[in-house]
């Protein structure tokens, strides 16, 4: 009896060569413990060395291998073939991003938004290490820990219809990371993040579709971060109307 196989329908696009993307069909061995990434590596090693895609840790912590698997944004290292077998598996680059080549997307906009939210501890006084560590209680850690789990995999951007329609929207992960630092007791930088979080292209574009949190592989709940940011920004705005002096 021949060994079982499964078909992958993979989107291909060669810049300068193709006008529009096409699909290419590959038949790969079916193994119960294989993920889509294993199948892609098999294709690249044995069938078609020209297939281009990003991957690294293959265990769901680096955020490199995000792709659309049957229309849903997933990490290809976390999508098991056995959940699709014996049907074919459609593999496409992450939605809502320009395609650079094959399964590789252009993420320059996100990288720029990421630096705009200043994802680091901001303080007026940087204490020298000789003065000891900043102390933080478990309760203080609890306020932001969930939002610190983001691996920048961009699945949330692929799931967000607002980002699909408005590429200038700063987006779930960037806002969740801004929230992670705004809620960190060591940070004093929320005023510096205000323009991007509460500005045009910030939280107010979000209509709480909630799909970002559904697809997040690390349970970050960016939708929750955005909602908290909306409330915080709205209260901040009210304070600026009622008490316009003394804004940091």
């Amino acid at each position: 009896m021949p060994d079982p196989t499964i078909t992958l329908e993979v989107m291909r696009y060669g810049p300068g060569r193709d006008e529009t993307p096409t699909y290419q069909s590959y038949r790969v061995p079916y193994r119960e413990d294989w993920v889509v990434l294993d199948a892609l590596n098999y294709i690249k090693d044995e069938l078609d060395g020209t297939l281009t895609y990003r991957w690294s840790c293959r265990m769901g912590v680096c955020g490199s291998c995000g792709m659309m698997i049957n229309g849903t944004p997933k990490l290809s290292c976390a999508a098991f073939l056995k959940d699709y077998y014996p049907s074919a598996v459609r593999v496409e680059p992450l939605a809502n991003f320009p395609i650079a080549r094959d399964l590789v997307i252009v993420m320059d906009d996100f990288m720029e938004n990421l630096s705009r939210v200043k994802p680091w501890i901001i303080r007026e006084d940087e204490r020298p290490t000789s003065e000891g560590e900043y102390r933080q209680t478990p309760a203080e850690l609890d306020r932001y820990k969930q939002f610190s789990m983001c691996i920048n995999c961009l699945l949330c951007y692929s799931a967000c219809p607002v980002y699909a329609l408005e590429p200038h929207f700063v987006g779930p992960a960037a806002i969740a990371l801004a929230a992670r630092y705004n809620l960190d007791s060591r940070d004093r930088g929320s005023a510096e993040r205000r323009d991007i979080v509460a500005g045009p292209d910030g939280v107010w574009d979000c209509t709480l579709v909630g799909e970002c949190s559904v697809v997040c592989p690390k349970g970050v709940d960016p939708a929750g971060a955005i909602q908290q940011a909306k409330l915080a920004s709205a209260l901040d705005w009210m304070k600026s109307i009622v008490l316009p002096w003394g804004r940091r």
Binding site: Y13, P15, G16, R17, D18, T20, P21, G71, A95, N96, P98, I99, A100, R101, V106, T137, P138, A139, D142, P161, A164, L165, T207, L208, V209, G210, E211, V214, D221, A223, G224, Q227, Q228, K230, L231
Partner: protein, 133 residues
């Protein structure tokens, strides 16, 4: 120098919300706002006709008994309930309540909201109908 490495931008269809259950439910949720607004208009009209006198008020009541209005109310009730259910489900995301350093679990917040819905409904019904139905 080779050909230009132009990235390809996939177009977004107008039917983007039909292909995925989560998106479709989202749009249905957003459309409940039409029924909330419609109910507010009907309430306003009730008050307006009330202020114009007995005849106007009773004519409005007759208008409300038209089959179309009854159907509208059945749909509006479903929409109002769907709005409440989805609103309460998402309430814990915005309302992070901390008691003694620990976060109140989301199901507790949701349950409190349903409790408030039950109490408010009973009070309003009692006031309007003169007795609990």
């Amino acid at each position: 120098m080779g050909p230009p490495m132009t990235p390809y931008r996939r177009p977004v269809r107008f039917t983007w919300w039909l292909g995925h259950r989560g998106y479709t439910l989202f749009v249905l949720r957003e459309l409940t706002s039409l029924f909330i607004g419609a109910e507010a208009v009907l309430l306003l009209l009730l008050l307006h006709n009330l202020s114009k006198g007995r005849e106007s008020y009773e004519a409005y009541l007759t208008f409300l008994t038209a089959p179309g209005m009854i159907v509208l109310h059945i749909v509006a009730l479903a929409a109002a309930i769907f709005h409440a259910v989805t609103w309460f489900a998402l309430a814990p995301k915005a309302m992070v309540v901390r008691v003694g350093g620990r976060r109140v679990p989301p199901p507790a917040i949701i349950a409190a909201n349903y409790g408030a819905l039950a109490v408010a409904s009973l009070i309003i019904a009692w006031i309007v109908l003169g007795r609990i139905p």
